[in-house]
Amino acid sequence: MTQPVIEYEHITKQFWSQGSEVTALQNVSLTVGENEFTSIVGPSGCGKTTLLRLAAGLEDPTAGQTVFRGVPIDGINTRAGYVTQDSNLYPWMTLRQNVEFPLEIQGVRAGERRDRADEFIRMVGLEGFENHWPYQLSGGMQKRGSIIRTMVYEPSVVLMDEPFGPLDAQTRMVLQHDLLRIWGEKRQTILFITHDLTEAIAMSDKVVVMSARPGTIKAVYDIPISRPRDVFQIHNQAGFTEVYGEIWQTFRSEVVGSGADTAAAGQGGAAAGVA
């Protein structure tokens, strides 16, 4: 285990929703290591987004504490980058202005801002669209814009909340590939939320499986698949089938138990069966 960057210590989080108390997280302890790509998977409502928000300082725990590089989080955590589920590019700024925004916040000179922003824009294949308004970009393009907007100021930790959720399957694979390429160069610590087990395994060094609500950590798996990974053909890479089968056994009871459709269960069984 590398240096701990985020430490969740006995986190319990309760919300009050429509008059009743909802326990999103129950006594969750987890350590996220430096330079590692960690995914959290779990059924809907298991509290994985809440864990991310705790690390970002957008929520406070009901009990326990979140420690970031040895310092307990108190208020908004500006030391981590945060990529939301929706792209949330600012509609009143062009793509370039959006990507330059964090650099502008931090007082970077205009010339340097533009160079750094353009580098990332090129990296994800969006050159030519610098002066477009967000509404003129497709969903996948906006998504890329949203990701490089966080990457451009090079936070050492990046929190990502189901960033590829709303996209179609092909676009998703392309963006997974882009993200891994960026990560390959910079090796930040990434904490990545997804409901898609295949995606989690394809991208990560570690996969954390959560239970249905109230959320707890069921298991943490090391992913022994070698890098670089081919997300387009991840099923064929050595080690994938075994680790998928293993994790799915843990995962399925949570998914099926929480009322997910039987197709998901069938899919899992079939994948485990394919050699």
Binding site: T84, N88, Y90, W92, I105, W133
Partner: protein, 284 residues
């Protein structure tokens, strides 16, 4: 093997008027306008109605020409009257809109403020301004400032509520994203909240224009001896129907011009919005 000849299907464009259609509509509008004006003129000429009460398009046009030529009307040229009214509108609008945007922003951001004062503001808003207007005259006199006060109050509420709504509706995640990137409160306000709220604010500002004009005219009806509103009232009382209509037309012209100014500002500032399908709807 022979295939049946394909029929050419013209793709239908239900939401976009073909340019022929647009020209047709315009021609129709012009024709209807001419017919209405002509009927009016003829009705008066045939003495079907009193010229003193109704006037007629030609008389009005004649009157308008002479007024714009500098004719003295009730002691001043029409331009003096317009100037007086315009001054009231401009000062009242500037003050009212500024106060409303600032307060609307604060109320949108600070929940405590909202909880404490919004009920009061809503209560004040529900008082008909017509009832409040004489109060302004009492307090501020019969000169410029009572009219400015009435315009202020007419503009304030509509801009305030639209601004507050715009600020309240800013997507919270926009703010979170900026704060997590390290933006200060000031940076967040300036670069995120205000631009995000701007469309609503501009709607409020546009709606404020006709309210401002109503306020100025109302003030002049109640207590004034000059101004376009006063001119309209005096014309009415003098059975000067032509003057009355000319005054109304000028008022409509001013309203339209000011509205267009806001439209231009709006278009400039909101280039980033996706275009609406078909013609855009502008609030009067």
């Amino acid at each position: 093997m022979a295939t049946a000849p394909a029929t050419v299907v013209r793709p239908s464009r239900p939401h976009v008027l073909r340019s022929q259609d647009r020209r047709f509509v315009l021609v129709l509008q012009v024709v209807i306008g001419i017919v209405v004006l002509a009927s009016w003129e003829l009705a008066i000429a045939a003495r079907l109605a009193q010229p003193l009460i109704f006037s007629s398009p030609l008389r009005i046009a004649e009157r308008m020409v002479s007024m714009l030529g500098g004719e003295i009307v009730y002691g001043r040229t029409i331009f003096d009257h317009i100037g007086v009214t315009f001054q009231q509108i401009a000062i009242g609008y500037a003050l009212g809109a500024s106060a409303a945007v600032v307060l609307g922003y604060l109320f949108g951001r600070v929940r405590l403020l909202r909880r404490m004062f919004e009920p009061i503001i809503l209560a004040l808003f529900s008082i008909p301004k017509i009832a409040l207007a004489p109060l302004f005259v009492l307090v501020l006199g019969i000169g410029l400032w009572s009219k400015v006060g009435i315009v202020f109050i007419e503009v304030f509420f509509v801009v305030f509520f639209n601004t507050m709504k715009g600020v309240l509706e800013v997507i919270e995640e926009y703010v979170h994203i900026a704060r997590i990137m390290g933006a200060s409160r000031w940076q967040t306000s300036r670069r995120v909240i205000i631009p995000a709220a701007l469309p609503s604010i501009l709607i409020g500002l546009k709606m404020g224009v006709p309210f401002a004009i109503i306020g100025a005219v109302l003030g002049e009806y109640i207590a004034s001896n000059q101004g376009l509103g006063w001119f309209i009232l005096y014309s009415t009382n003098s059975f000067d129907a032509s003057g009355l209509w000319a005054g109304i037309l000028l008022l409509v012209g001013i309203t339209w011009t000011l509205g267009q100014l806001v439209n231009v500002a709006q278009a400039r500032m909101l280039r980033w919005q996706p275009p609406r399908r078909g013609r855009s709807v502008s609030v009067a």
